[in-house]
Subunit: 319 residues, 2 copies
DNA sequence: ATGAAAGCGCTAACAC
DNA sequence: GTGTTAGCGCTTTCAT
């Protein structure tokens, strides 16, 4: 009877001393086997080397620790095969729930998990079902602020570099951009919306396309910070000065965006909050006796973070 | 008899079909319990948000996957308590081995693991013992190249910003710097060796100290890339041009150092190789019938990576 | 070639 | 309040 109040203190103490002496540690495997509860939550990310994720993983781990849960983190590296493998690993380890941070990619491969009624929490994924919660990111809020900021700086030709449009989150970001431009009556030329892939290299390439286009933008909004950093890198090699010649805005507010030169103006989606929310959502679902038939919907706000990579449109400036 | 050759193909096929239909997955817990082998390797890092680690974690996971191992990754966040907790988690999950990438911090807290004869692999840690392997990083090689590069650019007053000197790896880097300077007869003024802590903020602060000192360096070598980025950030706010006014060299070659502006000249220690080596070392140890009494020593070379953050000493230039 | 049985380390449910 | 027992899902051994 471990830790039960109805036990003689002396006996308890003796027992604990022996436990110490023997260096005993309970086997979670045996415990899980008999209790039917593994106390493990899974976390599937698209890639741990994506600078967006480590902070979310950190908080997920921290929160798990506080709740006596273990975590199993896997990366899909954008490979459907790896997504399947991840699901399988989760199942074989009998996780009690899985947070999926692949932002809408290949989630059909998780059928096995759904079939087994493992509580799931997605980010940016649509249809509500039982035991599947969703964290919706309110992209519009931050993107609208960013667009209006650029408009206030008298930028009119504003470009947007998208992420891979297979991702729901990338589509949502692009849509929010288009809507924000529409709202204030700015033209949103299709030539100024170019495809990137959320990588540094992708940002460079997309910006190169923009440079070769007929319409040269005075500002560019990027689907993520990594892309924006790629753009700035290209500017460096092309001798384009940021922000004097070109305003650049990122998205995500990864830790490093503050330390890029110039410090990057961006839109924050709190990685800390995402990790915390994902864990809490799972914990909530696991503790529910009868599953909520529609799952639960959570919302994560985005917000604009002003730093030094934006300036007045040089074509319109007072000077 | 799964996958055994001596089974009728038809029967086997029927069995597999049923397995599919039922959606059966073996329980790793039960398997581990009865076989005494968990097929889990642990990986303890000082913090997953340190940009050095994600790549090593990625490779560790990838290699584990290929060998049918699961991984359990924990962060100590430089907290002795968390180090203890990590060790405990590893033990409770009956991992077959643990790779410790905290570079020499608080490793005494891992006594429990050593006592239990869990194969261990450390980075940069001294005394060989049975079942404890070590990956030694050859700091001198890369640092010497960096110092000689600076000397060739006619820098004489070269500063060094250290990491936290509680870390073996930080001490080793500093020592390699001092030795490299000595080797070519350059004065290594104690005032030019200032303490940092491997963070961006630490880099800024350390460089501020250097700016306020009597001896103003024309080049600064940093104990890691993050520190170097902090230095460059400070330069930006102080209107010091890199590399024209100051040459900066980092250490680690994290992925982002290529994308910093200007692209950072640095010393590479392959994070990919480290992850792979750590896994292989554990696998090797686990497969050993009788443990190697002295453990095994592995060596990881460092190398110089020339990019754009270094230039001729302005005080000595031909122009 | 196939089936039966023991037991890994633990928890829960029960008698004492 | 304390000791005893069954059995979680597998692997391994031994009999058939």
């Amino acid at each position: 009877m471990n830790r039960h109040p109805s036990v003689q203190p002396q006996l308890a103490k003796r027992v604990w001393r022996i436990i110490e002496e023997l260096g005993y540690f309970p086997s979670t495997q045996a415990r899980a086997l008999v209790s039917g509860r593994s106390r493990i939550f899974g976390l599937i990310v698209s890639g741990i080397t994506n600078p967006f994720f480590p902070e979310s993983v950190r908080v997920f781990e921290e929160t798990a620790l506080q709740n006596n849960y273990e975590i199993l983190v896997t990366s899909t590296v954008h490979d459907p095969e790896r997504m399947k493998t991840s699901a399988r690993r989760m199942l074989e380890h009998r996780v009690e729930g899985v947070a999926v941070m692949t932002f809408g990619m290949e989630e059909s491969l998780l059928e096995d998990l759904k079939l087994r009624n493992v509580p799931l929490v997605f980010v940016d994924v649509g249809p509500p079902r039982p035991r599947v919660s969703n964290i919706g990111i309110d992209y519009l809020n931050g993107i609208r602020q960013a667009v209006q900021h650029l408009a206030a700086l008298r930028h009119e030709r504003i470009a947007f570099i998208t992420g891979p449009l297979t991702l729901k989150s990338a589509i949502a970001r692009k849509d929010a951009f288009v809507q924000s431009m529409d709202e204030i009556g700015l033209a949103c030329d299709p030539e100024l919306i170019v495809g990137g892939n959320h990588t540094l290299e992708g940002g460079e390439e997309a910006f190169a396309k923009l440079l070769n286009g007929a319409l040269r933008p005075s500002a560019v909004l990027c689907s993520n910070d990594t892309t924006a950093i790629g753009v700035m890198h290209k500017c460096y090699s092309e001798k384009i000065e940021v922000p004097q010649d070109l305003s650049v805005i990122g998205f995500d507010n990864i830790h490093l965006s503050r330390y890029i030169l110039p410090p990057l103006t961006t839109i924050e989606v709190s990685q800390t909050e995402l990790g915390r929310l994902a864990f809490q959502a799972l914990l909530h679902d696991v503790q529910l006796e009868t599953p909520n038939p529609k799952g639960t919907e959570y919302v994560l706000k985005t917000s604009f973070v002003l730093r030094d990579s934006t300036a007045m449109n040089p074509g319109k400036g007072r000077s």
